[in-house]
């Protein structure tokens, strides 16, 4: 026995990582963990610099000769423009409070996904080039010069952050680490280093009004399909209004709701709610085929791009002469509206302070932006008993709620969605406290990372969320995960397929529409997914 070679010697498997500092650990760009490089045509359309074809796996990224100079100038300019950036570069004491709070760190086990370390990737260069201590002491002061390897590391890890801001909840100094990623990506864009899942939706949205580049007539066609489906279900046509001048409210939702399941059912939910409100209270809501996108991938690109895409919603509201804007179930749209819009394109003085004409509620929180989240709007209607609901139609569902990062942490929308769910469903339970509300774990696919080629990254990043869903599935029999973000609705079904089979994903207003009793509707036999309603299982077999 003693003469046998050890197994590890035979196949030379090295289970031990090399004990090196993070600065000496080179970046290893692994397929499955990154998104494809941006299509040059999309970058060119938006007027971004240094447009070219390049491949992250190639040694040569075809950078312009003066790329270091471009970055240096880019950092210098932004330190002057954004006080927050300068402060976030200087004040971190590396206490580590954020270190283990990132879903990507938890899921991948890669220390460079600790928010503090991800930020250090940029800070180390900042110290080297912009601080006296860094210039004199170098590595001792945590500084390092910019090199091609450092640049590749930036690209790899700034696109392994979903800008979800969970880490910033725990920072005792209030550093918003997402803002560092935002700045890192903005700098990478100066060198043409965006990913296609962001760049092409941005170009499409700028040109055509939505991420997929769907033209106005095709947008209407899709809603017409939903009209047909709803008619089959209820016997009623919803009579959706488009581009109607002088309507009370302009409704804008992410285009994912129009084109991607299961968001399409949420979209049908909006249509049914607006029909109800029109019939019962005469509320006049219009959709726009031009401002046909609530999402804003400019937010993941640069401040200027975010501003350009955000502006179209307000331009359309002005053109149509509506009173205020109602926004659909979107994620990052709400962070843009709540935290950036007002100083970027606002204040929207040409609109009225949003007031629900049915209940009289004034949405003080939207006094300046003039844009109200549909969860608040519906919660207000329910609170004032303005909707006739039959929650038993959702009795086949045991629902839990995933707080989408941006509505929860970006605008404090925590109770309204739960209030709505509890009024339209009889079975609801929350996931464990440290995984919900402001502590919510990201879906792992936000901030433009919801592509297909980076599936390992998405599954690893979504592990903490899926782990909490699995817990309520096993403990309470949960079979439906509700959420108020279009990226969640697109990303979470895949996440569930991998980690928690048996749990489906829904938007809030799909549940609302299932329970909503429309005036004049025929007896419903199925839900919006054309699955039999509870108690109707036998009837559909015949």
């Amino acid at each position: 026995m003693a003469d046998l070679p050890k197994a590890a010697e035979l196949i030379k498997i090295d289970h031990k990582p090399k004990a090196k500092g993070w600065m000496e650990t080179p970046v290893n760009i692994r397929p499955g963990m990154y998104c494809y490089a941006a299509n040059p045509k999309s970058l060119d359309y938006m007027g971004f610099p240094n447009v070219r074809e390049w491949n992250p796996l190639d040694q040569d990224w075809k950078l312009p000769n003066n790329w270091k100079e471009i970055l240096f100038e880019g950092i210098r300019e932004r330190l002057g423009r954004f006080r927050s950036f300068k402060i976030f570069m200087d004040i971190c004491v590396r206490c580590g409070a954020c270190a283990d709070k990132c879903h990507f760190f938890i899921g991948t086990g890669d220390p460079k996904n600790m928010p503090v370390l991800r930020a250090e990737l940029l800070r180390s260069v900042y110290r080297n080039d912009f601080t006296m201590a860094g210039k004199i002491l170098g590595k001792i002061a945590g500084a390092r010069p910019m090199t091609l390897d450092v640049l590749k590391e930036w690209w790899y890890y700034f696109f392994q952050c979903t800008e979800c801001r969970r880490c910033s909840v725990f920072c005792p100094y209030g550093i918003d680490t997402a803002e560092i990623t935002i700045m890192g990506r903005e700098l990478l864009n100066l060198l043409g280093l965006n990913i296609d899942w962001i760049a092409t939706p941005v170009a499409n949205c700028f040109r055509m009004g939505n991420h997929l580049g769907i033209q106005p007539h095709a947008f209407k066609d899709m809603l017409d399909f939903f009209e047909d489906d709803i008619e089959e279900l209820t016997g009623l046509r919803m009579g959706v209004q488009y581009n109607k001048k002088g309507a009370d409210i302009l409704f804008i939702t992410p285009s994912g709701d129009v084109f991607a399941d299961p968001g399409t059912y949420t979209c049908m939910g909006y249509m049914m709610l607006f029909y109800y409100l029109k019939q019962e209270y005469g509320l006049d809501v219009t959709w726009s085929t031009y401002a046909s996108e609530g999402g804003n991938f400019g937010f993941f690109t640069s401040h200027e791009t975010m501003k350009r895409l955000n502006a179209k919603m307000y331009a359309e509201a002005k053109r149509l002469g509506v009173k205020w804007i109602l926004g659909g179930e979107c994620g990052h749209m709400w962070r843009v509206i709540t935290q950036y819009m007002d100083t970027m394109n606002g204040p929207a003085d040409f609109l009225e302070v949003p007031k629900n004409p049915i209940t009289g509620t004034v949405f003080e929180n939207a006094r300046s932006t003039k844009m109200v989240h549909i969860s608040e709007f519906t919660a207000d209607l329910i609170r004032h008993k303005k909707l006739r609901l039959d929650p038993s139609r959702n009795d086949n569902l045991k629902v839990t709620f995933h707080d989408s990062c941006n509505p929860s942490r970006g605008m404090g929308l925590l109770d309204e969605p739960r209030y709505v769910i509890q009024n339209v469903c009889n079975n609801f339970c929350d996931m464990p406290p440290n995984t919900i509300r402001e502590n919510t774990f990201c879906c792992g696919s936000g901030s433009g990372l919801n592509a297909g080629e980076n599936m390992e990254q998405r599954m690893a990043g979504g592990l903490p969320r899926a782990n909490a869903v699995k817990y309520v599935q096993e403990k309470h029999g949960v079979n439906m995960l509700a959420t108020i973000c279009a990226v969640d609705r697109a990303a979470l079904p895949d996440l569930m397929k991998y980690w928690v089979p048996g749990v489906a994903v829904t938007g809030l207003h799909e549940l609302v529409a299932n329970a909503l009793i429309l005036p004049g509707e025929k007896e419903r036999e199925t839900d919006l997914r054309q699955e039999p309603l509870p108690g109707m299982e036998d009837g559909t077999d015949e």
């Binding site: 197994a7 289970h15 990582p17 692994r30 899921g107 592990l463 782990n467």
Partner: protein, 181 residues
Amino acid sequence: MKITTLLQQQRTAILKKWFDSVADAYPLETSRFLKTQQDPFANPVGNAMTSGLEGLLEEFAKGAEREKLIRLLDPIIRIRAVQDFSPSQAVGFIFNLKKIIRDFINNIANAQVAQDDLARLEAEIDAAGLLAFDIYMGCRERLYDIKANQERTKVFKAFKRAGLVTEPSEDDPGLTVSNIS
């Protein structure tokens, strides 16, 4: 001494060594986190490892059942299948247990273990390693299914929007993981 007795008597110590050997395959900062954070929702990887390894050791002590082994291995392998591990690294941690147990036998006085008893245990560990490989492949295939179906659905929907599909009764091509695997 029966191997079962050894596993029961030294359970905590063996488990700790095994857990450490798995955790130490991660970079230092991560390994420290995996070992110290006890909250199962803050540290799902560490939690899956703890409960999985504990259950596996119990199974080995009493004679492993295939279904139970699969149930215990799945959460650990499912995680490692998407992390930065080669296939051999992803399943290799199971075999660490052999050396750990032999070290315990050698280091404990009077721990004379019958060779066939030890061989039985090691065969079970080997079997678990093979099952782990099945699970690993299942996880990878699931990932590819998800990717492939995403692309198929995208193309199908584009065709539908363009009016190139005339008889779509469903919004997807009808392929699911369950009916193509």
